[in-house]
């Protein structure tokens, strides 16, 4: 055990870190880990899509959509899904640019953050004024609320994560040193956008 970096003191330096990576190892680990994590998260949403089609096929007590007065409000859904797609695309562009042009990456990330926050806002609004009364039950309303809310929660988490990347994309940040993490985050955002597109299709067109 020859020499040793300084022990951490003070709030910023309390952060416990492991030995530094060589960039190429970092890239490989992050890539593999990201795909495994996305796979696990996909299984999480698969359960909700299964619930959708299973309850729809059972239609117990003919209550799949009894509480349904008018059709789902597609406009709101379109805006939400579209904003998430835009945000994911911006993150992906930024992640690709982060190694060479951190400044433009920063801009992309900021725009993506704005789009994401808007998306969350619209989503909250949609959940606040549902076109049906959830307390009356029904299969479709249950899946609608469940799927939309878990997707929104994951998006909020992703936006906080995006915040870290915004800062790390600054010249002093280390995204330039660890572009792999930014790229991995980009892939995760694209995955979320994909889920939102599928749920958009399912919830607004296949009920």
């Amino acid at each position: 055990m020859s020499q040793h970096a300084p022990h951490s003191r003070g709030l910023p330096n309390l952060v416990v870190t492991a030995p530094e990576w060589a960039p190429e190892v970092d890239a490989r680990v992050t890539r593999v880990g990201q795909w495994i994590f996305i796979g696990a998260d996909a299984m999480f949403f698969v359960a909700f899509f299964f619930a959708f089609f299973y309850l729809k096929s059972l239609n117990n007590d003919h209550s799949w959509m009894t509480q349904w007065m008018d059709h789902p409000r597609r406009n709101g859904g379109t805006i939400i899904a579209g904003l998430l797609v835009v945000s994911a695309a911006l993150v992906f562009l930024g992640a690709r640019a982060v190694a060479k042009k951190p400044a433009s990456a920063r801009m992309f990330f900021w725009l993506a953050l704005v789009a994401g926050v808007l998306c969350v806002g619209f989503q909250v609004n949609e959940l606040k004024n549902l076109p049906f009364d959830i307390t009356l039950g029904g299969g479709y309303p249950s899946v609608f609320v469940g799927l939309k809310s878990v997707l929104m929660v994951e998006l909020v988490g992703a936006l906080i994560w995006l915040g870290t990347h915004i800062h790390q994309a600054s010249p002093t940040g280390d995204s330039t040193a660890r572009p792999a993490s930014a790229v991995a985050f980009g892939h995760f955002m694209i995955f979320l956008a994909g889920v939102s597109l599928v749920s958009y299709l399912v919830l607004y067109f296949l009920y």
């Binding site: 330096n13 952060v15 999480f44 309850l55 029904g138 800062h167």
Partner: protein
């Protein structure tokens, strides 16, 4: 005690730029913040509850408490630093503290995490065991003047859920985290923060589960079937949050393990040289990573049903109990192979080292483990043969279930091939491994009885199936865990467990276990259903016999605990570096282990099991020149 003693490298260098206010994060701040979090969540729930069932505040309280606990432990520091751009000073894996205190802090050292897991799991096992003792006490008499039936069902539920926690994390957690990096030759895990998270999610889960009685407990068993769970009081919210936390722990530890094993193998550690234990952890991690999210989603649905009045599982409002049964068992069946696959790995590993022969049919064994991993996704409805879900599919699930006995049989074949004409030394770990083979054989054969629909019609939901899975989990996995503790304890803690008491423990536990659980097959055949607080008077003798032997079994575990505590804290003789004279790499390292696993990344030059092969090179070359490609893993952190 200290796994990795302090490395004396002079006082830490503190640069002036780093002299800032110190806000320590440790388990105390964690507990404090958890209390605050519970209060905040409960207030939020009270103000925003959509019904007055009282579940919203409890659920939010538990959730906030868990999150704030993690924040208090220190998991927020790194994200915050990244978010606000505080400088992140590199520091060797591990933390500032030495001695016991470092085990109560956030540590990214996989050795520390392994020991943390070991202790936590043993304590959880104690809680679950006490539950089992109370259950057997209540069953001493056929009618319930000892424990009221609702309390009895709460005991059953908490015992089962607690033991499921233990079973799903007690091998990959302690031994996987501790030894996989050594076995594949890396200084750290791929995602140490996720690894630490996978441990620190467990204590809140255990505490939240133990808190269930405060809200009246829950009577649903570990399956939590709806609509029975919809009737349960706030006690059931412990089930939801606790199980979700364990599910998350399975996912993050799985992501970390898989990535580590795929990407961080040292030079020469080819897939065909991977120790069989690592293969077991690998396959179990696959299942944990991709099955646990299903459970998490299903539990989210339960939570929504209880708080915002959705009706996922209420058949008179468009939901269906079948939805829960499908989702739960789609997770639940892979789950039981999460229990047993690493146990296979441990047992095969130990049988090799104590037979002093190469692992017979290594590739076949790997195929067997991966075969179980694959098949376990296609059998979940054998838990639902009687439920009326898609009866047309029952032949398929019957067949796929029985298919699993093929790869399981392979494991037995490999064990036998290894023991054939071997030089077996009957050490304590070997005894427990052979005990595993015996118990798991009975568990497996009784499983075949349950796999055919006609015979399952009589046995389903009876004590027969209960005895079956206790033979596979207690007689199987727990025996493997005990074997692994006896085997690896010297390397983990630097102390040898008392072997004489170990042998006594084995015979005591083995005999008591079989005498306690064998009669339960008979009880099941004599139409005694599971989870009953009462039973036919004619079965009292049998149940009393079972209870008495269950108490004796518990006593054997107490003996084990005493052995552990005594050998760990009250014997001061450092264990030899390689007490078993095994070939695998972890035994080539000194005891106690250094804080860094390897000064130079080892180059693996041979398999770990080349016993009796004169031409075989040692498993690894520890002193070799660091390979450039992977060497950067072992290089000192660049001072920033």
């Amino acid at each position: 005690m200290a796994v990795a003693p302090a490395v004396d490298d002079g006082p830490p260098i503190i640069q002036s730029s780093e002299r800032r206010i110190v806000i320590p994060t440790n388990i105390l701040t964690g507990i404090a913040l958890a209390a605050v979090g519970y209060w905040a969540g409960a207030q939020l729930g009270i103000s925003f509850a959509l019904n007055d069932a009282g579940n919203t505040e409890v659920l939010l309280g538990y959730t906030f408490a868990s999150i704030m606990f993690l924040v208090g432990i220190g998991f927020a520091n790194y994200p915050l630093a990244r978010l606000f751009g505080w400088r992140v000073t590199p520091q060797p894996a591990g933390d500032d503290h030495d001695g016991p205190w470092r085990y109560l802090n956030l540590s990214l050292d996989h050795k520390v995490i392994g020991v943390q897991y070991l202790v936590a799991m043993l304590m959880a096992m104690l809680f679950g065991g006490i539950g089992a003792m109370l259950i057997r006490t209540s069953l001493l008499v056929p009618d319930p003047p000892i424990v009221a039936p609702d309390k009895y069902l709460t005991l059953v539920s908490m015992h089962s859920v607690m033991m499921i926690f233990v079973a799903s994390a007690a091998i990959v957690g302690p031994f996987g985290n501790f030894f996989v990096p050594y076995m594949i030759g890396t200084n750290r895990m791929a995602f140490p923060r996720l690894e630490a998270l996978s441990f620190w999610l467990v204590p809140p889960a255990i505490v939240i589960l133990l808190a269930a009685p405060i809200f009246g407990g829950f009577q649903t068993g570990w399956t939590g079937y709806t609509p029975l769970s919809e009737q349960a009081d706030q006690g059931f919210d412990s089930y939801i949050v606790g199980f979700t936390l364990i599910g998350l722990a399975l996912v993050v530890s799985g992501v970390n393990m898989l990535t580590t094993i795929i990407q961080l193998r040292a030079p020469g550690m080819t897939w065909t040289r991977l120790p069989i234990f690592v293969w077991g952890v690998f396959s179990a991690s696959i299942l944990g990573t991709f099955a646990a999210p299903i459970l998490a989603a299903a539990l989210v649905m339960q939570g929504l049903d209880r708080t915002v009045n959705t009706t996922f599982f209420i058949s008179s409002a468009g939901g269906s109990p079948y939805l829960w049964e499908n989702l739960f068992w789609f997770f639940g069946h892979p789950e039981v192979y999460i229990f047993i696959l690493p146990a296979f790995g441990i047992v095969l590993e130990l049988i090799v080292h104590f037979s002093r022969k190469p692992l017979w049919g290594y590739r076949t064994a790997v195929v067997g483990l991966l075969g179980v991993t694959l098949l376990s996704w296609f059998v979940w409805q054998h838990h639902l043969f009687m439920s009326g879900i898609a009866p047309a599919l029952r032949p398929f699930f019957m067949f796929s279930t029985e298919m699993i006995s093929i790869p399981t049989g392979i494991v037995f074949l490999v064990a036998f091939g290894t023991m054939w004409r071997a030089r077996i030394s009957m050490t304590v770990p070997m005894l427990f491994s052979l005990g595993f083979l015996f118990n798991f054989l009975i568990g497996g054969l009784s499983g075949v009885f349950l796999s055919d629909v006609p015979s399952d019609t009589t046995l389903h939901g009876s004590y027969f199936s209960m005895a079956h899975f206790h033979f596979t989990i207690v007689g199987g996995e727990i025996f493997a865990i005990v074997a692994a503790i006896y085997y690896w304890f010297p390397k983990m803690t630097g102390r040898m467990l008392n072997q004489t008491w170990g042998k006594i423990h084995f015979w005591w536990m083995f005999i008591a276990f079989n005498l306690a659980f064998m009669p339960l097959f008979a009880a099941g055949l004599l139409d005694m259903p599971r989870r009953v607080s009462t039973y036919a008077v004619s079965l009292q003798t049998l149940n009393d016999w079972v209870s008495v032997w269950a108490f004796i079994l518990f006593a054997s575990m107490v003996l084990f605990a005493i052995n552990i505590i005594w050998s760990w804290f009250f014997t001061f003789k450092v264990a030899p570096a390689n007490p078993w004279q095994a070939r695998s790499i972890e035994w080539m390292l000194p005891t106690p282990l250094g804080r860094r696993n390897f000064e130079k990344i080892p180059v693996f030059t041979g398999g770990p099991y080349d016993y009796g092969n004169p031409s075989a090179k040692p498993a690894a070359d520890l002193g070799g020149p660091p390979d450039r490609g992977m060497g950067s893993l072992g290089a000192e952190p660049a001072p920033s």
